[in-house]
């Protein structure tokens, strides 16, 4: 069995704890993501997918339970430690691309490395060029985000998610906002990267056709995992 890059045990998340409107949205999630795995996370709206993704992405802390990323127990880390681990180990692809409009495609791809290292250098520029070539956007590298199509922006976002060479890429409905053709291109690209580099992917999607093409499907319903074959 391949090693787990991500493992969750008994993850619970409660909002408004201690008040009358206390709501538990995750009721003890146990799951793991293995190295090189391409996994779909599905479930109806309001099932707790986004909360789970935020906790895995270290943007939010669980109320209880343990989360380990590449062997690091995240419960022991302070905010600064979480930020560093997030920068090194996790790449994000959001539904609405979320490129930074003030920067070009290439600069957006360099951004994760830039915030980590502080100063731009030739190596990160080369890395960005390489990744843009990989997603077929070399020609567009000097374009600002707003002058590209949705599909192109999402490909830049994938390149950006891969810039720091993370162990895990979390994609929150990466094709949800794209036409079928672009969705197919973007999905294919993520799969190619996964196969070529061994980066693990956890992809939230509503598109069952795409989910079925993943290595594994994890289904969350009402804050619990109901199927993880």
């Amino acid at each position: 069995m391949a090693e787990a890059v991500l493992s969750l045990q008994g993850i619970r998340k409660t909002y408004n704890a201690g008040t009358e409107v206390e709501t538990e949205v995750l009721h003890g999630i146990d799951m793991a993501l293995f190295k090189g795995e391409f996994c779909a996370l599905i479930g109806p709206s309001g099932s707790g997918k986004s909360t789970l993704l935020n906790i895995i992405g270290l943007l939010d802390r669980p109320t209880s339970g343990s989360l380990a990323i590449e062997g690091h127990d995240t419960g022991r880390l302070d905010d600064r430690g979480l930020t560093q681990l997030r920068g090194h180990s996790i790449g994000f692809v959001f539904q609405y691309h979320h490129l930074i409009p003030a920067f070009t495609a290439q600069e957006n791809v360099m951004m994760p490395l830039l915030v980590q290292r502080g100063f731009p250098d030739a190596a990160m520029q080369a890395r960005a060029e390489e990744l843009l070539a990989q997603v077929g956007l070399t020609r567009w590298r000097n374009n600002k985000a707003m002058s590209m199509s949705g599909g192109q922006q999402q490909r830049v976002a994938i390149a950006r998610a891969l810039a720091a060479n993370p162990a895990i890429v979390l994609a929150d409905e990466p094709t949800g906002n794209l036409d079928t053709k672009s969705a197919e291109t973007v999905f294919g690209m993520m799969r190619d990267v996964n196969l070529a580099s061994g980066t693990s992917f956890l992809v939230v999607t509503h598109n069952m056709a795409l989910a079925k093409r993943c290595d594994r499907i994890i289904e969350v319903v009402d804050g619990q995992i109901v199927a993880s074959p």
């Binding site: 920068g87 959001f94 003030a102």
Partner: protein, 408 residues
């Protein structure tokens, strides 16, 4: 991307450039505020140093005089109930005791620049049937000319004096119809008299001084006033005019003389200057404050507008400190650019001022300069002010919850 700049500066510049209209508006706002402060600082400095020069150009900074005689009642207060009237004494002694010794002692004192003994007293100046009361002032020109710039203000003749020469003010010569080379009679109330040669006419720009002062050599005045070998006062100029109070107090305590400082004798003038400075400080503070609030409010809006980008940067591993610095740098850049534009604007105001604010004869009212150090100081202060103004928005940005921020 410039590899010499850190992430925070690169991103701050990009963010400011992206919201160009917003940035331009606030930069112009800062520039207008800075220009008002710089221009007013220069103007106030000009006015004050001009007034100060005028005040100091006709008087010494410390005047050493003989001690005053005072009446001492024989009955002490409390000894008995008495009704009494104590009259002030007429002053017998009009000359400074042992003035040569004092002069030598002053000359050795580090804080004193020039020591100028003077013999002065009231005389009548007579020409034909016209008589005027004036003060004859006997001087040692090599010392006196250091603080009253007679040689610069001579409008006819020369400032060089011999024992038979006098210098008169412009207004007095006009009153009496005197010209260079004329001989005039000076007579004291006690009968002393001398006829002297008019060597030069001066105009110190002060009508009172021009009308009532006759300048001559020290020994000529001593002879005329009947105080041979004596002086009525010793005038001092100091290395730093503002130490006059302390210097005068020390002299009064150490030597048996009275010492008046120009600061005390011009108390009203100083109150006026101080009031002017305080009211200007109040204006400067309120302009500075409104500029800072302007920067802060623009950045607060910018934090709201960019919350999603802040969230993404946080997701990519940017720390709270980096996000905070990103906004502090924006405040600093706005302050710096605003101050540079503002200084240029102030320079423009100054040129206009010098073109339009002129005396009827075409000379400027007074010299107004912006010293280069003021530009540097303004730039530094405005940058710090911008950074401080950005503190609240920067703190808000750094504390944004990335989850909420990304959701927008």
């Amino acid at each position: 991307m410039d590899s010499h700049l850190p992430f925070e500066v690169i991103a701050a510049i990009r963010f400011l450039r992206e919201g160009l209209v917003q940035t331009l508006l606030i930069v112009v706002g800062v520039a207008v505020g800075v220009s008002v402060i710089v221009f007013m600082s220069a103007l106030l400095n000009g006015v004050q140093s001009n007034i100060l020069n005028r005040v100091l150009s006709t008087q010494a900074q410390v005047v050493v005089l003989p001690r005053k005689d005072v009446s001492r009642p024989l009955l002490k207060d409390g000894a008995a109930r008495v009704i009494r009237v104590v009259q002030s004494r007429t002053q017998r002694q009009v000359t400074v005791d042992q003035w040569r010794k004092l002069r030598d002692s002053f000359a050795r004192t580090a804080s004193i620049d020039v020591v100028s003994p003077m013999a002065s007293g009231p005389v009548f100046i007579v020409r034909g049937s016209a008589t005027r009361t004036v003060t004859v002032t006997g001087i040692e020109p090599e010392h006196y000319y250091h603080f009253v710039a007679i040689p610069d203000d001579i409008i006819a003749g020369t400032s060089r004096l011999t024992g038979q020469d006098i210098l008169l003010g412009k207004d007095l010569t006009e009153d009496l119809g005197i010209k260079i080379g004329d001989r005039v009679l000076l007579r004291t109330a006690s009968g002393g008299a001398d006829t002297l040669n008019v060597a030069g006419i001066f105009d110190l720009g002060n009508k009172g001084f021009n009308q009532r002062t006759v300048i001559t050599m020290l020994n000529t005045a001593q002879n005329l006033l009947g105080t041979v070998g004596e002086v009525s006062s010793i005038d001092l100029t100091l290395k730093d005019p503002y130490t006059a109070d302390e210097v005068a107090d020390t002299i009064g305590a150490v030597h048996p003389v009275e010492a008046d400082s120009w600061i005390r004798t011009n108390a009203q003038f100083f109150t006026a200057m101080r009031t002017q400075t305080i009211s200007f400080s109040a204006i400067r503070t309120s302009v500075g404050l409104s500029v800072a609030l302007g920067i802060a409010s623009v950045l607060v809006v910018s934090v709201v507008q960019r919350s999603r980008e802040i969230g993404i940067l946080r997701a990519m591993g940017a720390g709270q400190g980096q996000i905070m610095r990103l906004f502090l740098v924006q405040g600093g850049i706005v302050g710096l650019i605003g101050s540079i534009l503002g200084s240029a604007l102030a320079r423009g105001f100054l040129v206009l001022w010098q073109v339009f604010a002129r005396n009827p004869d075409g000379t400027p009212f007074f010299a107004v300069e912006i010293p280069p150090s003021l530009y540097v100081l303004t730039a530094v202060l405005a940058t710090i002010c911008g950074v401080l103004a950005a503190a609240v928005p920067a703190l808000r940005a750094s504390r944004l919850d990335p989850v909420v921020a990304i959701r927008g």
